[in-house]
């Protein structure tokens, strides 16, 4: 919940990622590191993904999460971090893009 003074443990992406790690799962963390124009989620927002494609949190409010999850599974396999960019001006915009007209940069890294 917004403005709660305590963490919402059941929905907080970083708490969930730590729980997954303790359960022995492979985890990737995606973070919005830059936004231009009207981006739906602020810089610093997280999406956490496990190797089976389960995810929590959001980096765009639903527009590009599918693509980020696919890339994240790749990152879990290779261990190499990736910088993804999404926006309407993007070639990939036909498949996944931000209909709001903004652009975002998402850093995807493996946990551990």
């Amino acid at each position: 919940m917004e403005n709660s003074i305590y963490l919402d443990e059941a929905r907080d992406p970083l708490i969930i990622a730590e729980g997954w790690m303790k359960d022995g799962k492979d985890v990737a963390i995606a973070t919005v590191v830059e936004t231009w124009g009207s981006a739906p989620r602020p810089v610093g927002s997280h999406l956490v993904i496990d190797a089976d494609g389960n995810f929590h949190g959001s980096v765009s409010g639903g527009c590009v999460e599918g693509a980020v999850v696919t890339e994240a599974i790749d990152v879990i396999g290779s261990g190499k971090a990736k910088m993804l960019e999404f926006g309407v001006a993007d070639e990939t915009a036909w498949q996944v893009g931000l209909s709001c007209g903004g652009r975002i940069k998402v850093y995807v890294e493996r946990l551990g």
Partner: protein, 234 residues
């Protein structure tokens, strides 16, 4: 991300302490910086700014690109006194992004009728604050005028290093309060942190106007945290 960094970050967040995850976007290495940790150079300047504003972002330093993800606890406002001022202050503060909790042992004042949708404790501050301690991301405003209720909370707020401590009352009332707080063991430096008379001087007259003055002073205190020592804010 380093698993140890994630564990440390989550522990800090659970404890309502500020922390910044610093990631080198070139090689992916990361570390946690806590408030008050000394970091040199341009990176240190950017980290100080991120702690103050709570804004995350990238910064170029030492020929590298770092991403600073600032995790600040949600600031909150504890009001001692379920009085007329508090009735105006609670909704205003919530809208401004500072959730409010009101404490007043006088059950005739602390009623849900008078304070709909507000966290309300009809108990002594001693009892509530033992259960839910104050911290440096909490502001405390004492507005009962009654030393039996206000004094303990004020001393606790100073000891917990609340980012804002305000107390209702004239200069004369405050002079007597200073004597009592000294007797309770507060230091002169601590007592100097109390804003009294409470609120920015905007000539507030009505309870709602006083609430505006208190809220404005709270916001100013929050946004200038840590700047006093550097002389950037008077």
């Amino acid at each position: 991300m380093d698993p140890y960094a994630l564990k440390t970050l989550n522990a800090e967040r659970r404890a309502r302490r500020a922390a910044i995850l610093v990631t080198d976007l070139g090689d992916g290495r990361d570390r946690i910086v806590r408030e008050g940790d000394q970091v040199a150079g341009d990176l240190g300047v950017a980290i100080d700014r991120a702690f103050r504003t709570g804004n995350s972002g990238s910064v170029e330093a030492e020929g590298r690109t770092f991403f600073l993800n600032a995790h600040l606890p949600q600031p909150r406002l504890v009001v001692v006194g379920a009085v007329h001022i508090s009735q105006a202050l609670a909704p205003m503060a919530r809208i401004a992004g500072y959730p409010v909790e009101i404490i007043d042992p006088r059950t005739a004042f602390a009623t849900p009728d008078r304070f709909p949708d507000v966290a309300l404790s009809a108990e002594w501050p001693e009892d509530v604050l033992t259960r839910q301690p104050l911290d440096s991301y909490t502001a405390l405003a004492a507005v009962t005028h009654d030393p039996k209720i206000d004094d303990f909370a004020l001393k606790a707020a100073l000891d917990a290093n609340c980012f804002y401590v305000g107390a209702l009352g004239s200069r004369k009332t405050h002079a007597k309060r200073v004597e009592r707080l000294l007797a309770l063991g507060a230091s002169a430096d601590q007592i100097a942190r109390i804003h009294a008379p409470i609120g920015l001087d905007i000539g507030a007259a009505s309870p709602a106007e006083i609430a505006v003055a208190i809220l404005a002073q709270t916001i100013h205190a929050f946004r200038s945290r840590g700047l006093e020592s550097k002389g950037a804010v008077a």
